[in-house]
């Protein structure tokens, strides 16, 4: 076994927040009083090794330290404590537009970008056709890149980065920009270069993609590693973090006052059929959303609903108890627990679920009263299912040749 490609020991990165005008002026004005410097550890006490050919996914909420981590792996910024050791050439997938000169053609930009990524001119010439073919830009390669769509940018950028044949490829979110077919193609190409010993580090919120591509997941929270292990477990750990943060958010008074404030959400949670908290379910499992509310006033004809949405806020399904299964009337101050059971018939991915409360004014008009904060969960779906929900359709084939 060769030595690790990446090795981090006790790595921390501290940022110092300065006031907006830290220049000579303020220095002179505050000559005597000590300037208050607030420190922020974006990354702290991080240790891990990455071996040749591994593919790791880095997960975490916004501000968890993922980007700082990536910057240190790229060598763009140095740690404030500890040691970052990188043995090999790093090639970051340069984000859209960065490093591309708008007036130059795709062809010229391939040379410029390739050179920045450390490819000798000869190598670029040799691989030029492949770069263009992979990016599917044969017809536009002599067009100035300012006429490119963002998808074309990403394709060209990815293509150059991957043909730079680095020892370590850093991929930051940007694949989300390309269309689905191209994403798949990229993941496949990354798989190929891994076989040749390239190490790949991906930072993404696209859990489906991470799970397909990465063997190992590292979850960051507040700058620290909270999980380092298989990608499957990492996604579970990440979802727990999300669930915790949403529980925090539900303490936010503005959340409770929304929608007329006539119901107060006391508690809401997502559990599985056994009653234990659910963050990670398999398709077809039963999910139970349970919410306890206190009525702020008398409510004659209450009913509840549930909304399941994807990561990107597309609503998958909405369903409510409505007229057919009316809830009993509520008196002011009364506390009631509602439950909704649904089969988790969704394709692989992250979802959020919310319970909503309404009342009937008459048989046709309704008024919303309140809504629980979203709770997120991750579904491992059946293979080859796409769209927003899995219809669990049954298929048959019958011979009709007689």
């Amino acid at each position: 076994m060769s030595t690790p490609v990446i090795s981090l020991r006790g790595v921390g990165k501290r940022y110092i927040k300065y006031s907006d005008q830290p220049m000579l002026m303020t220095a002179a004005l505050r000559w005597r009083q000590r300037t208050k410097r607030s420190e922020l550890w974006a990354v702290r006490d991080v240790d891990f090794d990455v071996d040749e050919g591994e593919s790791i996914g880095i997960l975490g909420r916004n501000g968890a330290g993922k980007s700082t981590m990536l910057q240190m792996l790229a060598g763009v910024t140095a740690p404030s404590s500890g040691v970052v050791h990188v043995d090999g050439r790093v090639s970051p997938l340069i984000s859209v537009g960065v490093g591309f000169h708008p007036e130059l053609t795709g062809r010229e930009n391939v040379y410029v970008n390739g050179t920045i990524l450390g490819m000798p001119r000869k190598t670029i010439e040799r691989r030029f056709d492949e770069i263009v073919a992979f990016a599917e830009l044969e017809n536009f390669i002599d067009t100035p890149v300012k006429f490119y769509s963002s998808g074309m940018f990403v394709r060209l950028g990815f293509s150059v980065a991957i043909e730079a044949d680095p020892d370590i490829l850093l991929v930051d979110e940007i694949l989300a920009v390309g269309d689905f077919a191209f994403q798949l193609k990229c993941y496949e190409r990354m798989q190929k270069i891994r076989e040749r010993g390239t190490t790949v580090v991906v930072v993404s919120h696209n859990l489906g993609g991470l799970r397909t591509f990465c063997d190992r997941g590292i979850v960051f929270d507040h700058g620290r590693v909270v999980h380092d292990g298989s990608m499957f477990d990492a996604i579970g750990s990440y979802h727990q973090l999300l669930a915790v943060s949403e529980a925090d958010a539900s303490g936010d008074p503005t959340e409770q006052r929304q929608e007329l404030g006539s119901v107060e959400i006391i508690e809401s949670r997502l559990v599985d059929a056994d009653g234990s908290p659910a963050a990670h379910v398999n398709a077809g499992d039963t999910l139970v959303v349970r919410a306890t509310i206190r009525a702020g006033r008398d409510i004659e004809r209450p009913f509840s609903g549930i909304i399941v949405s994807t990561d990107d806020r597309d609503i998958c399904v909405y369903s409510d108890s409505n007229r057919n299964q009316p809830h009993p009337p509520l008196r002011a101050g009364e506390v009631q627990t509602y439950e909704a059971r649904i089969p988790a018939n969704f394709p692989t991915g992250s979802y959020t679920v919310k319970m909503s409360f309404h009342r009937h004014v008459d048989d046709y008009r309704t008024v919303p009263l309140g809504r629980t904060p979203p709770v997120s969960f991750y579904t491992t779906g059946r293979p080859l299912v796409g769209g927003l929900a899995d219809l669990a359709a049954a298929f048959t084939a019958t011979s009709a040749t007689g």
């Binding site: 060769s2 220049m23 240190m72 763009v76 910024t77 490093g99 050179t115 020892d167 796409g386």
Partner: protein
């Protein structure tokens, strides 16, 4: 394994994939497979344990990646003339027009040439050539200084994503400026030939002159670009100093025209040395040229030492303040 099988493998792992024909990847990957086995590029690796980068390491990385400098410089220069109908003519045309204007103005309109000549040892020379040889060096310095001083901050888009020695950013501005400088030197040669009627071997003095003006500009650029990250005032300070320095440099007058009381300061100005060398190549230098050149070398040394110190200290942490 064929590509189709490969994608089917990915699907089994639970990908959210729509089973549509056009999502099956059919790119040929044979050429990748044909490549020789990977050799880990140990030289490109790095170990970071604090903000400082030892100077030798910084310079060796710069040397290893020097190709980037020239590719980017060429790109920056040629991209300037994209979408202009006259294209590269502008690169040649502007200094040419400037030279013609100077000639017309100072031979037919404002006849101040005699004042300069009287103190320049009395020999006859063209005042237009005199001024143009001053302008060549000065405009290189004054057009590239503001850009190189802010280059590290301006380059933050790229610098935040990928590492290269940040020294490269101010150097890039200076190297890009070499293209117009070389064109101007050609124009200077033609102008000297046209107005002085002879160009001798002394014209070779443009070589040390160019080296000095490029060296000083690079040194200033390196030092100022580092300072500018922490003190954004540098940008405006440079603009202010430039407008003063134009008059405090012997461009439109000769060193000997300056009053004796301030002459030492003027001959010690950062651009006095290169300009005297350009004069030596064309119309003959002022007698005080050795002081001016020595002054230029001192400016170069001090600025370069400061610049390299700052860059080796903050190279990997500039990005935190961009």
């Amino acid at each position: 394994m064929t590509p189709t099988q490969a994608s089917a493998g990915a699907l089994d792992a639970g990908a959210e994939v729509l089973p549509r024909e056009d999502f099956v990847v059919t790119t040929s990957t044979e050429p990748v497979a044909k490549r020789p086995a990977r050799q880990r590029d140990h030289a490109a690796g790095f170990e970071l344990s604090g903000p400082g980068t030892p100077l030798p390491a910084l310079l060796s990385t710069l040397w290893r990646t020097r190709q980037v400098l020239f590719v980017l410089a060429r790109k920056d220069f040629f991209a300037r003339y994209r979408r202009t109908s006259l294209g590269l003519f502008w690169a040649l045309g502007l200094p040419l027009i400037q030279a013609v204007v100077l000639t017309v103005v100072f031979t037919h309109v404002v006849r101040v040439g005699r004042v300069v000549q009287s103190v320049q040892g009395g020999h006859h020379f063209s005042y237009a050539v005199f001024i143009y040889s001053g302008i060549v060096g000065w405009s290189f310095f004054s057009t590239n200084m503001p850009g190189s001083a802010t280059s590290v901050v301006d380059g933050s888009g790229l610098a935040g994503k990928i590492y290269f020695p940040r020294l490269m950013l101010p150097l890039l501005v200076v190297v890009t400026g070499l293209y117009p400088l070389i064109i101007s030197l050609g124009v200077l040669f033609l102008l000297t030939l046209a107005l002085q009627h002879s160009v001798g071997f002394e014209f070779l003095f443009v070589i040390p002159a160019t080296v000095l003006v490029v060296g000083i500009s690079a040194a200033f650029g390196i030092a100022l670009s580092a300072l500018h990250v922490y003190f954004r005032d540098v940008k405006f300070l440079v603009q202010a100093v430039m407008s003063v320095l134009f008059y405090a440099t012997p461009i439109i007058y000769s060193l000997s025209n300056a009053p004796a009381s301030i002459r030492p300061f003027i001959s010690f100005g950062p651009m006095a040395g290169p300009i005297e060398l350009f004069r030596m190549a064309t119309v003959g230098a002022d007698s005080a040229w050795p002081q001016a050149v020595a002054g230029g070398v001192v400016w170069f040394t001090v600025a370069m030492a400061l610049g390299l110190y700052l860059h080796s200290r903050f190279d990997r942490v500039f990005v935190d303040r961009l």
